[in-house]
């Protein structure tokens, strides 16, 4: 099988401007929902700050769209801080966002567990404290492909981030206080596990070259969302066999109660179309039921991506009544919308 090197098949102007131009486009398409503060490079909910409401912000490298900007709006994030492609944002962005959304009830920082994100958010939180703004940082680390040990930077934050932003956002919207919103966010992270696979590499615009070479017919198992190579490379099997690996990896680590209701999130990495994601969901749903779990809720689509990478990830969240109600609560963002 010939190795196909992914070329730059992109809608692109100046690679240095891709993030700014894309943010401007998102803002232009959602004028009622959010505003783009170009100077600070942040997306802010149109009606922020909302007095008395706990505010949620998140951020990270770009290239994962719709994460995070597509989740700014009612019932989810109050602001998003997009860094350069695959590079965490700088503290100035998180600080500007924290100030822009603070309604006096405190601000939750949803931080995916990557060294860069953690360090930059930490610096911003320290400075926000100097302003007298109370910040609760919630670390997302749901990726079972990484061993959580002294020998790694800890688990990466991946698919659970979307679920945390939705569910904690609903808690803030209904008026929960800072501690409660943060606690719910941590509970979602606590009860969620993810595992991702790549069927192709991806090409950061500024670099112009695929971040790794993946021959056709091979699959990279246990990838993150930054084109980091995974933990091992194996021949690509059937969707059923890939789903078996994903479900096994996630469930063996999640250890959900027998018969528990779960939310099954089948996510595309950016270059994999819906026809395949639904096919994959068909396999996942069957395997979850076979494992004695009930997929009471699901999300199928490309919500946390790696540019145009072909591949997908599975996130399973063990639900309880409160998390289910908060998931069902109305949300109105560019990428997730229901009930309103």
């Amino acid at each position: 099988m010939a190795t196909v090197v992914t070329p730059m098949r992109k809608f692109l102007n100046d690679p240095e401007q891709v993030v700014k131009e894309s943010l401007a486009g998102l803002a232009a398409s959602q004028p009622d929902l959010l505003r783009y503060e170009a100077e600070a490079q942040i997306l802010v909910r149109r009606d922020a700050p909302r007095q008395g409401k706990v505010a949620l912000i998140s951020g990270g490298g770009s290239g994962h769209e719709p994460l995070h900007g597509g989740f700014v709006g009612r019932g989810m994030l109050d602001a998003a801080c997009p860094g350069e492609v695959f590079t965490s944002p700088v503290p100035d962005q998180m600080l500007a966002a924290t100030r822009a959304v603070n309604g006096g009830a405190g601000v939750v920082h949803i931080v995916k567990n990557y060294t860069g994100d953690v360090l930059n958010f930490k610096m911003a939180a320290d400075e926000a404290a100097d302003d007298g703004i109370t910040v609760e940082s919630v670390l997302i680390d749901d990726d079972v492909a990484v061993q959580d040990s002294l020998y790694t930077a800890g688990r990466r934050g991946v698919g659970a981030t979307v679920l945390v932003e939705k569910i904690a956002g609903a808690a803030a919207e209904r008026g929960d206080n800072l501690e409660t919103v943060a606690a719910i966010a941590r509970r979602v992270n606590e009860r969620a596990r993810s595992f991702g696979v790549a069927l192709s590499s991806c090409t950061p615009p500024a670099g112009g070259k695929p971040i790794f070479d993946l021959p056709e017919g091979e699959v990279e198992m246990g990838i993150g969302i930054h084109g980091e190579p995974g933990r091992r490379r194996v021949p690509l099997g059937s969707a059923h066999s890939v789903a078996e690996v994903m479900v096994e990896a996630v469930l063996s680590d999640l250890r959900a109660k027998p018969g528990a209701n779960v939310l099954a999130f089948v996510n595309g990495m950016g270059g994999t179309p819906l026809i395949e994601l639904y096919l994959l969901y068909h396999e996942v749903e069957g395997l979850l039921r076979a494992a004695g779990l009930t997929p009471a809720r699901n999300l199928v689509g490309s919500y946390i991506t790696s540019l145009e990478m072909a591949g997908g990830s599975l996130t399973v969240l063990e639900l309880d009544d409160e998390l289910t109600a908060l998931w069902d609560a109305p949300v109105h963002t560019a990428a997730l919308r229901w009930g309103v």
């Binding site: 350069e84 965490s88 100035d92 060294t115 360090l119 492909a145 020998y151 790694t152 980091e228």
Partner: protein, 216 residues
């Protein structure tokens, strides 16, 4: 033998200019190293950051060297992002605070400032020697620097020893398995690749050595 002259604000601006130039020259190389065990942005991050530092310094004529290092560090924090931004940004800020407001500094004071820089990186990133990070280039450099200073070597000679040790430490990261940063996700697959941060760190110290040699 060369007469070691006192170092001053000019030393900092020349050093940062040299770092910006060498990072720009090695940008693709650093990207490749980071693509192998990280996410391929290290060269782009530092290129963006040190270009911003040069712009910031050019707007500051008459601050003492310590202040210029603090400005450089803040600029890195505000422009780089990623792991290397806060790490090198805090390092330069801490080094600047150590130099204080003095208009000049000698090699002993420079060594103390660099000690503070390394300490800032370790405080923030908690990396130990052998974790396959920038610390594995910076640490050996400081050991060599102190050894040379203690035996009374002139500044540029002492720094040449430090730069050589940094490059040795950089190469020594190849067989290491990463325990910090993105590369740690790869587990054993991180073995056999040179750490990008250790590589850029060796470049930063080599740039300082050039700065001192040319001014001596």
């Amino acid at each position: 033998m060369a007469i070691a002259i006192a170092m001053d604000a000019k030393t900092i601006t020349v050093w940062m200019g040299d770092v910006a130039a060498s990072v720009r020259a090695e940008r693709e190389y650093l990207v490749q190293l980071d693509a192998a065990i990280g996410d391929g942005d290290h060269g782009i991050n530092l290129n963006r950051g040190f270009d911003a530092v040069v712009r910031a310094l050019s707007a500051d004529e008459d601050s003492p060297p310590g202040k210029l290092l603090i400005l450089s560090g803040k600029t890195l924090v505000s422009s780089v992002g990623g792991a290397s931004g806060p790490l090198w940004g805090s390092a330069l800020r801490r080094a600047g605070r150590t130099l204080g407001d003095a208009p000049t500094f000698d090699i002993a004071e420079l060594a103390a400032a660099l000690d503070a820089a390394l300490a800032a990186i370790v405080d923030l990133g908690a990396a130990a020697p052998g974790d396959k990070t920038m610390v594995d280039a910076f640490g050996p450099a400081m050991t060599a620097l102190h050894e040379a200073v203690n035996r009374g070597a002139p500044a540029h000679e002492a720094m040449r020893a430090a730069a050589a040790a940094a490059e040795e430490g950089m190469r020594a990261t190849i067989p290491m398995q990463a325990r910090k940063g993105r590369a740690s996700y790869l587990g054993e697959r991180s073995i056999g690749h040179q750490d990008p941060g250790a590589t850029s760190t060796a470049m930063i110290i080599r740039a300082l050595e050039r700065t001192l040699s040319d001014s001596s």
